[in-house]
């Protein structure tokens, strides 16, 4: 499988040697998950290297979002093992909260805290979890809001922003924790078409800066542009995983070919 350094299009990602830690950032082995009678993940294996961007695509109900949500244990798994920085995910309590602080997550529905301003949304984690002083947290939050282009909305409430602005605020909120990994669970699926690119631009810039990312999306353009590897899921399995150039040029799998012909035909 291709590592992050195989992709010339992106800035060189920090290698394991540079960061001083060996092994992949995330390792998923033989993971199974069912919701009642519905078997949503079937023997899923996936590793994510430091600095790598893995984009997961596939039809609705294929298990992409569940896989994403298992990585910070918003969903528990029935069998198999997921390790983060070499250790199995903690079960619960303080250790699980600490793990989640290391993993940023961006949701389809933004999920900003409705009673807090955009600035307060971004500072909450650093102040309450990282125990940062309010002044430092505000400085950091303002820098992040500037980076995602909505510093002028800092004192607004989420409902006063457009969907694209809310999603960029949600990305800033996740980045404020200095995560080692960012999970994106269909981040543009709830957006009007004209707002999708403003969110994707932020994500591409993150990828170019070497952020490790797992992105569940239907945006094939983003997958081509930013992914180191594309994973195609269907029926709870990863059927193919390959660099985007290889995957889009000639999907090896029939289901992937069928899926691509549907989503790329327009």
């Amino acid at each position: 499988m291709a590592g992050p350094l195989d992709v010339g299009a992106r800035a060189a990602a920090p290698s394991a040697a540079v960061s001083g830690r060996a092994g992949p950032l995330v390792s998923i082995r033989a993971v199974n998950k069912s919701f009642g009678a519905l078997h949503v993940l079937r023997d899923v294996d996936l590793t994510i290297e430091r600095g790598e961007v893995v984009v997961v695509i596939g039809p609705s109900g294929s298990g992409k979002s569940t896989l994403c949500r298992c990585l910070n244990r918003l969903e528990t798994i029935d069998s198999g093992e997921i390790t983060f920085e070499g250790s199995p995910l903690p079960q619960e309590g303080r250790a699980l909260a600490s793990l989640r602080a290391e993993i940023g997550m961006v949701f389809q529905a933004f999920n900003l805290f409705g009673h807090k301003t955009i600035l307060e949304n971004v500072t909450l984690g650093p102040v309450k979890v990282r125990k940062m002083t309010r002044t430092d947290a505000v400085d950091k939050a303002r820098a992040l809001l500037e980076r995602v282009g909505i510093l002028d909305k800092a004192d607004r409430y989420p409902a006063e922003l457009s969907g694209g602005q809310q999603q960029r605020a949600a990305i800033a909120r996740a980045l404020a924790m200095d995560p080692a990994l960012m999970l994106f669970d269909e981040p543009t699926s709830a957006l009007d078409p004209e707002m999708i690119s403003e969110v994707l631009d932020v994500m591409v810039s993150l990828a170019n800066d070497g952020m490790t990312m797992l992105v569940v999306t239907h945006e094939m353009g983003f997958a081509r542009r930013a992914a180191d590897r594309v994973a195609f899921m269907d029926g709870g399995r990863i059927l193919q995983i390959a660099p985007p150039s290889e995957f889009f040029a000639a999907p090896s799998n029939d289901r992937a070919r069928e899926f691509l012909s549907k989503v790329l035909s327009h």
Partner: protein, 220 residues
């Protein structure tokens, strides 16, 4: 002639009535505060992942919501001393009213908790907040704002229900009215006056609730 005589006698009780208003305010405000705190805790119990806490919350609500306040007050004041726990007149009324209304506050707050989008709870967990931090920072602030109006209704109910404190001997508005009625047999001015005082207090609470609700509203 008679009316004038009665009028002057009633006027002699003005101080008693003012004191009665203070007692009513004390019982209802402290009782409601107690109900707010206990009720919110109970609501947290009722949405807890821990079965024993959920069970306690449910049992509490079913017992206290379905027992007449008068019976609770009589038990507090006359029953508890039998098992060695004695509260004064005022304390009995405050505790009885507080524990009774806590059951209703619990149910109001619980419905407020259910209005908080589950996605926000997930987002709060995802940035590493502990369970109690999620409750304090994200869930409760929004849950309470969503139920300002029902809580206002319960505050009014606390004022009106506090009149039962007279039954165990408190000199609140109703208790004072009873005493004055024993002295001056003028039921209509005495009890209409008492009723109007309750009405005035309730109207003020209703107005405050409206102001509070407009200030705290969360735009979605």
């Amino acid at each position: 002639m008679l009316a004038r005589a009665a009028g002057s006698s009633l006027a002699a009780h003005t101080g008693d009535f003012l004191h009665g208003i203070l007692v009513t305010l004390e019982i209802s405000s402290v009782g409601f505060l107690l109900a707010l705190i206990a009720g919110t805790l109970l609501a947290i119990f009722r949405v807890s992942p821990l079965l024993p806490l959920r069970g306690f919350g449910t049992a509490y609500v079913e017992v206290f919501r379905n027992t007449p306040l008068l019976v609770l007050l009589l038990l507090m004041f006359f029953g508890l001393p039998e098992v060695g726990v004695t509260f004064g007149l005022l304390s009995s009324a405050i505790l009885g009213l507080g524990f009774y209304e806590a059951a209703f506050v619990c149910e109001a707050v619980r419905s407020g908790i259910n209005t908080v989008p589950p996605g926000q709870v997930e987002a709060a967990r995802a940035i590493g907040l502990r369970h109690w931090q999620v409750l304090l920072e994200v869930v409760l602030p929004q849950a309470l704002r969503a139920v300002v109006q029902p809580l206002g209704n319960l505050a009014i109910a606390a004022v009106l229900n506090s009149s039962l404190a007279a039954a165990i001997g408190n000199t609140d508005i109703t208790g004072t009215a009873n005493h004055v009625f024993a002295d001056v047999v003028e039921p209509i001015p005495i009890y209409v006056g008492a009723g109007l005082t309750y009405l005035a207090l309730s109207l003020v609470i209703g107005q405050l609730t409206g102001v509070l609700e407009r200030r705290l509203v969360i735009v979605r």
